[in-house]
Symmetry: C2
Subunit: 156 residues, 2 copies
């Protein structure tokens, strides 16, 4: 299974390789989404709900939905929709925000913490297995490249 090269006249060497990286990123994203859904399904979650739950779990302080969205690199609206569903499922709840009447703070419920802990139990061996044999240094390089690319995309 190879990807068409996407190397056109005018591409620098780096520009050409970056174009390949882009196509690969799209494919991996799709595969990750599917894998995440498989992993989350037994606990009644989807990949998207799990991601939002995880972002809230990782908050140092309770924050409004828009803040969580920024952290995830998504729009307010997308995260709001998922957060509302998680609140309906009693995995998250909204708390009054003393600093802003219309922007309640999102926090985990006890049930949310339990479910998320269950997800983590499933994710840990899965991630360990997926990463086995890949040089840690290469993983670090890949993260760094993606971070740089994202930074340029968002700023420019």
């Amino acid at each position: 299974m190879t990807i068409p090269s996407r190397r056109y006249a005018g591409h620098t060497r780096n520009g050409s390789v970056l174009s390949e990286l882009i196509l690969r990123t799209f494919r991996v994203h799709g595969a990750l989404l599917a894998a995440g859904d498989r992993l989350a399904h037994p606990l009644g979650l989807t990949a998207a709900r799990w991601q939002v739950l995880g972002s809230v779990a990782g908050l140092a302080q309770p924050a409004p939905v828009a803040h969580v969205a920024r952290e995830m690199g998504l729009t307010r609206q997308s995260v709001q929709r998922i957060a509302d569903q998680l609140v309906a499922d009693a995995l998250l709840e909204y708390q009054d925000n003393p600093h802003h009447k219309r922007a309640p703070l999102v926090v985990m419920t006890a049930r949310g913490r339990r479910v998320f802990a269950g997800m983590t139990e499933r994710q840990v061996p899965w991630a360990n297995d997926l990463a086995r044999g890949v040089p840690g240094r290469d993983l670090e390089v890949a993260i760094d490249v993606l971070r740089r690319v994202e930074e340029r995309l968002v700023s420019g």
Copy 2:
């Protein structure tokens, strides 16, 4: 803008770093989609239509939609929908498949080739600029890591 670490007890070092890579991949995917739409919009395309157009352009032989979908790592249905739109816009066309009555072959029209060439003209300097200053070796490593991850995800 940092991402919560996602390093849990039980994660191997690699498993932990891989989890970071996953989150980063999601963010970059979103940023790439937005950038692709910006790039494609002046020529009346979306990122998705451009990708399908490019996949067809890269075919060694005319092929059915399902074949293009496999190549892209997407479902038949998703690509079928986009391909139908591109045919309606006269950028692609369906040819009778002598080997299968119900599975026509997708091919570029002259107009499709012109538009895709125009997209390439726009993409080349954009990609060169995005890749500038990133070590080519790091880009290669990132591609290789993602390819390995995708392979494991799809096969397992």
